[in-house]
């Protein structure tokens, strides 16, 4: 420990006293660390360490039994240059990211906005109806039976009944339809916490703002939304964006449950499924880590882009 007295010449000891200052502050706030510790220890072990370890382990060949062997960039080379399935997975993940992500995000806002203009009781009912699919456990499995490839599948039965098709369509194994069905189901479960945040954000907007807007010449609901509502909701818009990014980039589970694993011609294979494949089926943990790392990186980049776009709405 340094023995610098607090009243010693300031010039030479600025650095040390600043350090000491911090130490003193830390001592003063010991209880803050005490209150954080239980959560942050678990958080570090199960979230921070796993996410940050994905890069170093991505540089190794690791089968869980032997000690990881350093292989440099070869996992990443293989991924990008040789692994054709990864390229399919990348394409599908980007499809989810640029299609279901934005569509579900806009749906969250538009539906929340429509719901918010209803009376109290209807608002409560519709909020519940639209939010329910995202929390009802694995109930989306029901879609498997609706799109089942035989005539017992509801969709096939009705389309045949109406004379639109003559023989059942293999919705979940024909590569022409698989992605469409999975996207539909992904959208069905996509109105989650971000959706609730948007409804709550809309409710919280000061109504005097709308009065002021009416005086300034706002004529209809659309103008009201563009010039008053949206600019007031920056923080909620950002929160919802984070939720939808997470959901769309990590898509894969739904496809895996509905179309099987591996799906026909990897038609619904995503990066998350690819990581699952190499991690839990082939136990090539080094390669799986490299895959995970790329996914984390893509999510952080998307997150930063959204922040930049929405920053004009966030003034505080």
């Amino acid at each position: 420990m340094s023995t610098v007295k607090s009243d010693a010449t300031p010039a030479g000891t600025v650095k040390q006293s600043k350090f000491k200052n911090t130490l003193n502050e830390m001592k003063r706030d010991a209880s803050a660390y005490g209150m954080l510790a239980p959560f942050f220890i678990l958080f570090a072990i199960f979230t921070i360490i796993p996410v940050t370890m994905s890069l170093p382990i991505g540089f190794t060949s690791f089968n869980m039994v032997q000690f990881p062997k350093f292989v440099g960039l070869s996992n990443f080379y293989t991924l990008i240059l040789e692994d054709d399935v990864f390229l399919i997975a990348l394409k599908n993940t980007l499809t989810f990211a640029v299609l279901t992500g934005p569509i579900s995000y806009i749906a969250c806002f538009v539906i929340a906005w429509l719901i918010n203009s209803l009376g109290r009781t209807l608002k409560t009912i519709f909020t519940f109806v639209f939010y329910a699919p995202s929390i009802a456990s694995n109930i989306f499995i029901i879609w498997q039976l609706m799109f089942s490839g035989d005539t017992y599948g509801f969709v096939n039965a009705w389309l045949m009944q109406l004379g639109i098709i003559n023989s059942p369509i293999q919705w979940l194994t024909d590569t022409k339809y698989m992605m469409g069905v999975v996207i539909l189901v992904q959208l069905w479960i996509s109105l989650g916490a971000g959706f609730l945040a948007m409804i709550a954000g809309l409710q919280g907007i000061d109504k005097s703002q709308y009065e002021a807007g009416a005086i300034e010449g706002i004529k209809n609901r659309l103008q009201e939304m563009l010039y008053i509502t949206l600019p007031c909701m920056g923080p909620q818009l950002l929160f919802a964006a984070v939720m939808q990014i997470t959901a769309s980039f990590t898509a894969g589970h739904v496809g895996q449950m509905l179309t099987g694993f591996p799906s026909t011609d990897y038609a619904t294979h995503t990066i998350n499924t690819h990581a699952f494949d190499y991690g839990f089926i082939r136990y090539e943990m080094g390669y799986a880590s490299a895959v995970s790392f790329l996914l984390f990186l893509m999510m952080i980049v998307a997150n930063n882009l959204i922040r930049r776009v929405l920053s004009k709405y966030i003034d505080d």
Binding site: Y33, M35, P50, S117, A132, Q223, T246
Partner: protein, 286 residues
């Protein structure tokens, strides 16, 4: 706490209101239909499940599928009550621990300025991105090295420190006036006591929300990659296994799905007002 009042519309017409109602009603049917379908299928007797074209109602409703579900589950390797016990105890332990340590941490982040608080706060916001379904493989490696695979710890520990609940609580606590905390501090209460005796009673919507969200998450825990022992499996895993048996057990699958979806839906419905109040503070400002 301020009540959320219904906002009066300045613009907009009755025609617009009716149009909005119709649009929502139409979309709502799409959202509800799979639930309706599951319930109807779960009360159809076996012969009605295979009628062409499928009917939208049960001609002869029966509880057979539910009875059969529990009977079939009773014939499993491990008694059904074991799975129920696993799921319920996992849900309770995860929820209680999450609320307890999450609220304490949220108080420290919202109300104490300490060296590193800025960093810890931004870490929480960033980590909202990383849910367990994307960190699974990396978490598996960490747990394997700690010898937790195939133990009760694997069912519980990875799911406690989820950032969402902490984040919502921190946001909600942020609007508790400093004066309230100052007063408690002057009376000699430490931070821990201030948090639990002064602040927590004032943030009821937030901890109710934490409870509901944590329960929803915990109720769905399968930890399939971390658990191989039959005796440690949870309800969703078992229901999934029964459903996976396909058409032969279609009725059972529907019954299982219905049983699984009820607790989280009811929990949300009960606390909906409080959850909406908490979500009004959910915005990310930094």
């Amino acid at each position: 706490m301020k009540l959320i009042k219904r906002k009066k519309r300045i613009s907009g017409s009755l025609g617009g209101d009716i149009f909005i109602f119709l649009v929502l009603g139409f979309l709502g049917i799409f959202m509800v239909f799979p639930f309706y379908f599951s319930v109807i299928q779960s009360i159809k007797p076996i012969n009605e499940l295979f009628i062409f074209p499928p009917k939208l109602y049960a001609m002869d409703p029966t509880a057979d599928n539910f009875v059969e579900l529990f009977r079939a589950a009773g014939n499993l390797w491990v008694p059904f009550s074991r799975y129920v016990f696993n799921s319920v105890s996992v849900a309770v332990i995860v929820t209680v621990t999450h609320v307890f340590i999450g609220s304490s941490a949220a108080y420290a982040l919202a109300k104490i300025k300490f060296p590193g608080s800025k960093f810890a706060n931004s870490l929480i916001v960033l980590s909202l991105l990383f849910t367990s379904n994307v960190t699974g493989i990396m978490t598996y490696i960490v747990m394997a090295k700690m010898g937790m695979i195939d133990t009760y710890f694997a069912l519980v520990l990875p799911f406690i420190a989820t950032p969402m609940g902490l984040f919502l609580m921190r946001q909600f606590m942020g609007q508790i006036p400093e004066s309230l905390i100052e007063a408690a501090r002057i009376d000699g209460a430490g931070h821990f006591r201030t948090c639990w005796q002064i602040v927590m009673p004032n943030v009821k919507p937030a901890w109710l929300t934490m409870i509901i969200f944590a329960f929803q998450g915990a109720w769905a825990i399968t930890a399939q990659q971390f658990i191989y022992k039959e005796a440690l499996k949870t309800l969703p895993t078992v229901v999934q296994q029964i459903t996976a048996a396909g058409l032969a057990r279609a009725g059972l699958g529907f019954a299982g799905g219905v049983v699984m979806m009820i607790p989280p839906l009811v929990a949300f419905l009960v606390a909906q007002g409080n959850i909406m109040e908490t979500m009004s503070h959910s915005g990310i400002k930094e």
